[in-house]
Each structure stands twice: as C-alpha cells, then as structure tokens.
Amino acid sequence: MTLTDWFNKRKMQQIAARDNDVHIDDSIGKLWTLCYNCSSQLPKKDLENNLMVCPNCDYHFRIGARQRIDLISDKDSFCEMYQEIKPCDPLNFVDTQSYPSRQEAAHAKSGLDDAVVVGTCTIEGQKTAIAVMDFEYMGGSMGSVVGEKITRILEYALLNKLPSIVFTASGGARMQESALSLMQMAKTSCIVAKLNEAKLLYITVLTEPTFGGVTASFGTIGDIIIAEKGARIGFAGRRVIEQTIRQKLPADFQTAEYLLKCGQIDFIVERKDMKEKLSKLIYLHTKK
C-alpha cells in the first residue's frame, strides 16, 4: 500500500463514518469548528471566508438555504415568494414529541418556516426561478409545504418561461405527514412533466445529503443533474441497504463521485464554481 493509498483509504473511512444525522458540533465553541473529514480544528472565520469549505481537505460543509442563495444569485436580486405557505398538522401526529413542537424547534434552529425557500433571482443577469432546501429544518424532509412551494415556483417558471434550479438537501419524507408527504413526490414530478413539455430548462443540484423521496422525485429528473462535491446521494439509506444485503458497502458508496462513475449525474461542482457553472448552463440553453 502506498502512502497515497493509505490516505485515500483513511479519507474514505472518514467519509463512511459520517452519519446521516451528524450536526455541527457547537460544543467546541463559537470560534472553532471540527472538520468531519480531516478532523482539523478550523477557525470558524476561515471556514466562513472559504464558503464553508474546509481549507485543508476541501470538505464541503452543509450550508443553509439563505447562504446558498447568497452564493449563487446576483447581489440583492433574490425575491422570495410564497412565504405565506406554512406547515400544519393534518394527522395530529405525535411520536415522542408532537409534530407542532417539532416544527417550533425546527423553526428555532433554522429560522425558517419549513425546509425550502423559493423565489426568483438573477444569475449573472439571467432571471431564474430557484428553490433551495435547508437540511436544518427537520432534516430537509419533504412535507406538504416543501411540495407546494416547489410546485408553485416551478409553475411560476412555466408561466413566465424561466429556467429553474432546485437545490436539494433532504433526509427524505416528512413521516409526520405520512401519505400526504408521499403525494408531494407525485405533485412535484407532475409539474416537472409540464416543464419538459414546455421545453424549459430545469436543473437540479444535489447537495449533502439527498435521500429518499426527494431522490425519487424532483431531485433526479432534472434536465441536468449536478452534485456538489462530496455530497451523499441515494434512495435508501446506507444502513438499510447494509442490513438488507448483509454486507458492508464500499466506503465511498452513494457519494457524488461514486454516482458519477455509475452514470447517475451529469457532473460534480465545487461550491466556489457553482454560480459560474449554473450561469453558463443557463446561457448555453437559453441563448437564441
């Protein structure tokens, strides 16, 4: 084994060790963050100045919807829409907590009313409809609000003949809404069918992590499917698969890089290049 092999192996093991429900460890303090990947202690400021990408190993930390929008849209061009759509509790769902209390906690954690922010912006001057999911709100799970807001912004794109981009980040279904959550997969896929027929560009950017219902609906039916570097993407969770097939999966299984090899995505983009890549794609598909 060469030293490079050893480093690669260690890196893959570290990727594998990351868990679906890991969250940024605040206990280290407000000034330092531990990189999951290379375990280096990073001054938070350095990390923020580097778009939340580890300067040592290029590991892309998850970012929130607002931060994502700032990174890809022209300054002050984002115009949020459909904020009035808010979650309720149609099933009166209670597990160890009630659904409303989980909503409250998620709101406090993320500052959002649900797991997606939608609106229009310009990307290097090109008007675009965008939807950006936020993992901090209940793991980016898709309930009625996520489904409705995504459908509305794509309807807006259809009506106004705009290109559209959806950034996904989701653990899957919003179990507290059961079959209503499942139906959001159908609803969002139906509007994409209309975009297809209208020949309007629909791009999806899969970011860390994208699983379950989002992978099996609007996430993977983009005209172009992009993955952000290092993102884990899949239908079933790693543990479920390992339990089913009773064998260990490769360390890099379900990473963006693995899926690229499997032909499941068009290409991988680093965060710093995201805006430029999106802008070029829109330009190449819409110039006359």
């Binding site: 160890t96 079959a179 139906m183 159908a186 609803k187 099996a216």
Partner: protein, 323 residues
C-alpha cells in the same frame, strides 16, 4: 393459485374465534359419540361466533389490518390475473438487459376490454419469493413498467396497475443503476399519459416503490390494504428509536383506506371478503373486477387532454398546509 385445499393461516388476533369453533366441533363429536343432544349449546356457540366475528372484523385496528395486508396467503398479482382476465399475455423485460420479476406486466382482456395490466409480484413460497425478490422491484422493474406504459399509450390501452410491495429494493445495484431516478421518471411520465390509468393498492403500498406505479387517474385500495410513506416499523425505529413501537406508529401514520379516503389520497375502498382477501381469493377478485370495470367506464369518452388534466389536478391538490 388453487387455495381451496390449503388451510388458512390464522393470525394471532383471530385465535379466539377458532377456539370457539374448536369447542363447537368438540361438542358435535361428543354428541355423535354419546347420543346426548347438545344442539342448543352448539347453536348458542355458533350465534356467539357469528357476533364475535362480525365485531372483530368490523372494528379491526390498523395494526390488525396491517397483518391481513401482509398475510402470506394474500392473493397476489397472478391470482388476480387468473380470476379477472379472460386473456393475459405477459410482456417481459426493460430492453436494457434486465427482466425484473418483481414487476409483471402484459396485455390483458377484462370483460372484453383490452387493457395493459401491470403489477408488483409477491410469491407465496420461499422459492417464488426469491424469484420475484419478495415483490421489491429494482430500477429495471420500474423501467419495464415505463416501457409498458408507453406501449399502452401508443395503442390506446387503458392501464391498470396492482400494487403490493414493501417498497423498492434497497440494494447496491439498485442504487448504482438509479432506483430514485427510475421511480421519479415514472411519476413524471405517468403524468403525461393519454390513456386512462387506474391504480389499486391490493396489499402493501409502501413509499415511493408503490407510488412509482400509482400516479393514476383513479387510485383505489382494498379494504385491509395500506398505503404509507414509510413502513410502520421503519417509522417507529426512526421517530421512536424503537421498532417495537410499530403498533403505535401504525395508528399515527393513518394508513388505512378510510383515512386515505378522507385525505383525498385514494378515491375508493374496495370491500374484502370477511376476514380478508385470503379467505376467498375468488370473491376478492370479483369485487376488484367490478370496481375496475366501473372505473374504466368512468373514463370512457374522455379526451387525452381531459384525462391528463383530471390526473394533474388530482395530484396538484394533494397536501395540507396553512396560508
């Protein structure tokens, strides 16, 4: 397929009924052996059984229905083909190197109407189940279904899908070949179809794996079948961190036909024989056939555009939120 000779496997909650029935048999035997007349006792017990049965099966808890939906002898896709179709010609393969046996499809005739009939297939023995992967499709299964949807669309055949699956298969090849994409593409392409599409959840309707065949003009469910975003066991282990809470999760997820009707997720609940479909596959199939034929009539004469609009509006309206 012939179930008459096979003994029905009794579920735990049904055992009290069978205890009374055993007692009746015992009395009858004693009566014959000893010439003592137990008729009045027997009659009383038979009355009791009848009342008890009625009460039990009318007020099944969701968790009990779940057991019926998963009953190993529940009629499967090929049983329904046998009882419902005058003709069925199976069409194999996804045309990209694979024929997933967890999804079966073909052209069929139902009361003289030509249709495309597609469904998930569960086996009744270990051997059968290994062949059809316990009814859990690979991406290639969804792609075979899509090919058949498109075929039906070209030849103006209404599409009937029968769904009974624990979900799409969570395997390595499934991920590598795009399980998510295969399901998503079906959702999107089903929206575009120009023929009537009717889906029936006949047993388990679990998550995206079920929905991948069910973006249809009309969605029906059998009385004891269930339709959910995640299995109650999966939900219990994620939310309660305890899979033994499955019974509580089953209630919370509101997975029964009546619940789904209320939320507009299904359009019709099809009655099952007393005790569940496995007690009388033929009767079940007749009920199903009747609903299918009536549903086909509902969409007769609708233009492709009307069919698409009806389907689109139906799914567009799904979801509950405040604004």
């Amino acid at each position: 397929m012939k179930e008459e000779n096979k003994k029905v496997q009794i579920l735990e909650f049904e055992k009290p009924i069978y205890k009374i029935q055993d007692k009746i048999e015992e009395l009858k035997k004693t009566s014959a052996d000893t010439n003592i007349n137990y008729d009045s006792e027997i009659k009383k017990l038979e009355e009791q059984t009848k009342i008890y049965k009625k009460e039990l099966y009318q007020k099944l808890e969701p968790y009990q229905k779940l057991q019926i939906a998963r009953h190993p002898q529940r009629p499967n896709f090929m049983d329904y083909v046998h009882f419902i179709c005058e003709d069925f010609i199976e069409l194999h393969g996804d045309r990209h190197g694979f024929d997933d046996k967890a999804i079966i499809g073909g052209v069929a005739s139902i009361e003289g109407r030509a249709v495309m009939l597609i469904g998930t297939m569960k086996g009744k023995s270990t051997k059968e189940n290994l062949e059809c992967n316990f009814g859990m499709p690979q991406p290639q299964g969804y792609r075979k279904a899509l090919r058949l949807f498109e075929h039906a669309n070209r030849f103006n055949l209404p599409i009937i899908t029968l769904i009974d699956t624990m979900g799409a298969y969570p395997g390595m090849m499934a991920e590598e070949t795009g399980q998510g994409e295969a399901i998503a593409t079906n959702l999107k392409e089903m929206a575009k179809l120009e023929v009537p599409t009717i889906a029936v959840v006949t047993g388990e309707g679990c998550s995206g794996g079920a929905l991948g065949l069910a973006v249809s003009n009309k969605v029906m469910i059998l009385e004891h079948a269930y339709y959910t975003v995640i299995s109650p066991e999966g939900c219990a282990s994620i939310l309660w961190k305890d899979s033994s809470m499955a019974r509580v999760a089953t209630d919370a997820l509101k997975i029964t036909g009546d619940d789904l009707l209320q939320y507009g997720i299904v359009d019709e609940v099809i009655k099952e024989p007393t005790g569940g479909a496995h007690y009388n596959a033929q009767e079940m199939a007749q009920n199903l056939k009747k609903s299918l034929v009536e549903s086909l009539k509902e969409f007769e004469g609708m233009s492709p555009e009307e069919l698409r609009n009806q389907r689109y509006s139906k799914f567009r309206a799904m979801g509950v939120f405040a604004q």
